[in-house]
Subunit: 249 residues, 2 copies
């Protein structure tokens, strides 16, 4: 049995997300189907985590086991891509240890959220950026974000009704930057993130940046666990799964 790890990039605009679901086109299903053809055996693909409808991935990591296939590992790049639409690409494939686990062995996950204020939205950024109509102060957002660092129970930033063993996560770093095109972004790296957690944090950050909320609101929410103090959930198209890091990959 071979354990194959692949890196996948996708533009999430046209998909209902990563995770397979009936009657909808998902990235997982399209990649799984393509891999199965290239492998000439039925492949089950496990991703490092879900991404929601419209969320993009610069680097999603996934793995699958081959029972009998003799397809060379390298062929899972070009062969798979020839069967995929141009908004999904496998850009790495390598054989890994039998016991490599794409979820359990994650060391850190990195997400970037892109946001921009312009009087008129840039047509070339529209698919990949949250365009806001009110100017914001990035310095305020940056200061406020420091309260998120470290280990916290982030349940208050997750979708209501999420059932997970624990809602405690650690945020290692929050950094702000700007692209060549003048689009702002914030990068979060952490042990893992709950569903809608980054978009909910981002919505709150924006309300701090536009002066609608006090910069100390993160402390208050994390202490009180009162979700009603958080901002609106920011839209999907600004969010990118940027990187998934492992100890020995």
């Amino acid at each position: 049995m071979r354990n194959i790890c692949i890196y996948i990039a996708y533009d999430g605009t046209n998909y209902v997300g990563w995770q397979k679901q009936p009657n909808h086109e998902t990235v997982q299903e399209l990649v799984e189907n393509a891999l199965s053809i290239v492998a000439n055996e039925s492949v089950v693909l496990l991703g490092s985590g879900r991404t929601d409808a419209g969320v993009h991935a610069r680097k999603q990591v996934a793995n699958f086991f081959l029972q009998t296939s003799t397809t060379p590992t390298e062929a899972f790049i070009r062969g798979t891509n020839s069967l995929l639409p141009q908004d999904i690409r496998v850009f790495e494939a390598k054989e890994v240890d039998q016991d490599f686990h794409v979820i359990r062995h994650v060391k850190s996950k990195v997400y970037r959220y892109f946001f921009s204020y312009q009087k008129v939205p840039d047509v070339f950024q529209a698919r990949y950026t949250w365009h806001v109509f009110t100017p914001f102060d990035v310095t305020l957002m940056e200061q406020a974000s420091k309260a998120l660092l470290g280990e916290h129970d982030f349940a208050c930033f997750a979708t209501h009704g999420v059932v997970t063993k624990s809602t405690v996560r650690t945020i290692f770093e929050v950094t702000f930057g700007k692209t060549e095109a003048g689009v702002d972004y914030v990068e979060f790296s952490g042990s893992g993130f709950l569903r809608h957690m980054i978009r909910s944090i981002m919505g709150t950050l924006m309300e701090i940046g536009t002066g609608k909320k006090n910069p100390d609101v993160f402390q208050k929410i994390l202490q009180s666990q009162d979700r009603s103090q958080a901002g609106e959930t920011a839209p999907a198209q600004g969010l990118f799964l940027w990187d998934v890091r492992y100890e020995d990959l």
Copy 2:
């Protein structure tokens, strides 16, 4: 009568080009329809030039006359955008002299063509870049491009059967650059460009860059006017109408 000049940006992916034509969605028609609603009178829009199917515009310039409309000029930005799909945006509107002519008064036009070699194409560049599967030498392309500078009869780089008064054009500058994302581009500024001229030059440049053609091929083509020596026409999605410049705008 008011003469209104507007700047328009569009992602050309979903359109058969700028110029109105029956039974197809064009940028000109969509903008004209939106302007007519905002103006509350029928508007005829004249663009600085056509762009072909799939070609983008960072800045297209167009004008229209208002006979009786009292709509404030500023309203042609937000009002028009509220009626347009998100891949077309009017980002400037101003009243200009009665005799301002959007074609005759052009001082220079600037186009950029984006191209990239990667083993696996970047999904986020696919709509806006010519992805080539062979590595190329930009230095060779840059050297060869110098032969294009100045006034020449460019008929050999235009679509066969183009009927225009003159096929003589002047290229003022050809400059190469690289984006933050590592995508190469070449920028052409000139008095004007014939239909398919830049994509035909670009196709030839790429064959020089990949070693299929000799760097002196431009001199030979321009001297002999032998189109068969030129390369394939490069694909539309890498091309952007980047700027249209006027003496007094």
